[in-house]
């Protein structure tokens, strides 16, 4: 084992750090009221929250792909003035407190917001609807997809695309048959990550969409609400979210770029395996 080359105190601190992450999860698992687990997670309100969460998160992830792929392509394959600024702005939701994002969305699409007042005049009200949930989730999840895809596009480089063009392929053919297949693994992991981020969304959703059972009360909101009245239900539902999170991490890091062994140019080995 290569740990032998490290000072022992470094290893010791690393172990403490690891426990800091794992221990709370174990505590959660220990706290679960196993005999009542199934009834707790299948109660009417829990089921409603679970289904709503799945529906909205999948929709949000789909939305992220639809707008995120073109965004990543523009950021990775074009050069324009202010591109760095645009990239920073696009990635802002990653570091912004979600509740701030929710307020921002409210003042954009809320009834008296920037666009919301015009939309209201047309008879469209977004705030405090399921649409608002999806928008909140997409807002915070989009940077995950754009970031992961843009990095992959940059490290894949344009050499294969240039070869494709000299072989007579048009731009759309190059995009469809070369560019996107080459970054497919990163696209998949970007989708999974943005889905997971959407699933865990709390602050923006609560601010922009509220907490109406069956309409806007997603799983994290349900957990927060149940914590007051039925802590056992909150714990059981939390465990479901932990399970989903573990599955997501597993998927996101199992996906490998195609033919990596023969193509060091696609991604340096050091970046390839951040988890193991």
């Amino acid at each position: 084992m290569s740990g032998a080359s490290l000072p022992r105190w470094v290893v010791a601190i690393a172990v403490v750090g690891g426990l800091f992450v794992v221990l709370p999860l174990a505590a959660l698992a220990l706290r679960v009221d196993w005999p009542r687990f199934v009834p707790l997670v299948t109660s009417e309100s829990a089921q409603a929250a679970l289904l709503l969460s799945l529906r909205t998160s999948l929709t949000a992830a789909f939305l992220c792909v639809v707008v995120g792929v073109p965004m990543a392509l523009v950021l990775a394959r074009t050069a324009f003035r202010g591109q760095r600024l645009v990239r920073s702005l696009v990635l802002l939701p990653l570091v912004l407190p979600p509740v701030v994002g929710g307020i921002a969305l409210l003042y954009t699409f809320g009834r008296r917001g920037l666009l919301g007042s015009s939309l209201h005049a047309l008879g469209v009200d977004i705030a405090f609807s399921t649409t608002a949930v999806v928008m909140s989730q997409a807002f915070v999840a989009l940077p995950f997809l754009v970031l992961s895809l843009e990095g992959a596009l940059r490290s894949a480089g344009t050499r294969y695309e240039a070869v494709g063009a000299t072989l007579g392929a048009g731009r759309w053919t190059v995009l469809r048959r070369i560019t996107l297949p080459l970054v497919l693994p990163s696209l998949v992991s970007g989708v999974v990550l943005s889905f997971a981020r959407a699933l865990g969304e709390f602050g923006a959703t609560l601010t922009f969409a509220g907490s109406l059972q069956g309409t806007t009360r997603t799983l994290p909101l349900e957990v927060y609400l149940q914590r007051e009245t039925d802590p056992d239900a909150a714990v059981a539902l939390s465990l479901i979210l932990v399970g989903v999170a573990i599955a997501v991490v597993g998927v996101a890091h199992r996906v490998r770029p195609l033919g990596v062994s023969a193509m060091p140019l696609i991604r340096p080995a050091s970046e390839r395996d951040p988890v193991r």
Binding site: V163, T166, I178, L258
Partner: protein, 359 residues
């Protein structure tokens, strides 16, 4: 018909103009940074010139300058590029890789596949059709890349050091393959290996600092080089000088008696192989030999010979001779050239850029 090319790109100091007859293979040689890759990128359409015009078989590739800015897209140029690395699409099988060009040019799937099979057979790797690029060796991958480039049926094929990344054990076989498939095809071959130029090219063009410093048929350039780089490629000593009444007098003092039709005072160059240069400790007199004294600058080991550099001339001698003569840096020796071993030819005043024979 054929290919005409004129382009300048000031930010890279690039200013080149040449023509290529249909079916001709042109080798482009030159030191690193001479502009060889710039040339290929301009032709392929991966780079735009500041000014210039290129036409391939009547198709305009670019016409830039004087208010015009026509840049044909790479895919409409009929130009295929084969680089040092095979760059096979890693997510496609070998067959799909080769079928990519025909597919992109509008062939139906089945027709494209049979075109691909034909070319895979032509390059001798039809048994690998269903493999992924990751499962190929370097030589196999480059064969597939050749097939892919040719399957697109380019009017002009660009080869960028196609053998440089290959193992020495597989390069000769691929060179033979290229010799076969390039025979009737207009090709520009960028290489640093004179052997590629000998075996594959009809004409040679030498670039230095973004400009053509030498060009001509392969035979001419390799037997009558006019630049130091060309002489090194050809493995010749290049000794610049002038026609005198007695024959030829080199800038370094060497005088050779010979007949030449050039007028007295004309600029001439003398080319002689290092193995034909005699080395001695005394200026011997013998039938027709010309001698020049010089101090040894450097000695290097080359295979089964020792190369002695002195007075801007290189001489190859047997190791035993070198030891016997006590040759070491700083020692004064005499170098002898016999007119029968030398080629003397006219060059223009500006043609000679660097002194002869040096390293």
């Amino acid at each position: 018909m054929g290919f005409t090319f004129t382009a300048t790109l000031p930010e890279r100091g690039f200013d080149v103009s040449f023509e290529l007859a249909p079916g001709e293979t042109l080798a482009v040689l030159g030191p690193n940074g001479a502009g060889k890759s710039t040339l290929l990128d301009l032709v392929a359409g991966l780079l735009a010139p500041a000014a210039g015009r290129a036409e391939l078989d009547g198709t305009l590739l670019f016409d830039v300058g004087g208010g015009r800015r026509v840049l044909t897209e790479p895919r409409h140029r009929g130009v295929s590029l084969l680089a040092q690395e095979a760059l096979l699409f890693p997510h496609l099988t070998v067959l799909e890789n080769v079928a990519f060009g025909p597919r992109s040019r509008g062939q139906h799937r089945s027709a494209a596949r049979s075109t691909a099979r034909h070319w895979l057979e032509r390059v001798g790797v039809d048994d690998l059709a269903s493999r992924r690029p990751a499962q190929l060796s370097g030589g196999q991958a480059q064969r597939v890349a050749v097939a892919r480039a040719l399957a697109a049926d380019p009017s002009l094929l660009l080869l960028d050091e196609p053998l440089a990344a290959l193992d020495v054990s597989v390069a000769p076989a691929l060179r033979t393959l290229l010799r076969e498939v390039l025979a009737e095809r207009s090709t520009i071959l960028v290489t640093h290996d004179p052997l590629d130029a000998f075996l594959l090219a009809d004409r040679v063009l030498i670039l230095e600092g973004g400009r053509i410093v030498e060009s001509g048929t392969t035979r001419d350039v390799l037997t009558r080089p006019v630049t130091g780089f060309g002489a090194r490629l050809a493995g010749l000593n290049l000794v610049p000088g002038r026609r005198t009444t007695a024959g030829f007098r080199a800038d370094n003092g060497l005088e050779v008696q010979l007949e030449h039709e050039a007028p007295v005072g004309a600029r001439l160059a003398l080319a002689v192989r290092p193995v034909s240069v005699e080395v001695s400790r005394t200026a011997e007199t013998g039938s027709g030999w010309s001698w020049i004294g010089a101090e040894v600058d450097d000695i290097e080991h080359r295979g089964d010979l020792v190369r002695v550099h002195a007075g801007g001339v290189a001489a190859d001698v047997a190791p035993a001779t070198a030891v016997g003569l006590g040759i070491a840096p700083g020692v004064r020796i005499f170098l002898g050239v016999h007119p029968a071993d030398a080629t003397v030819y006219p060059v223009d005043e500006a043609g000679l850029r660097s002194p002869a024979g040096g390293r």
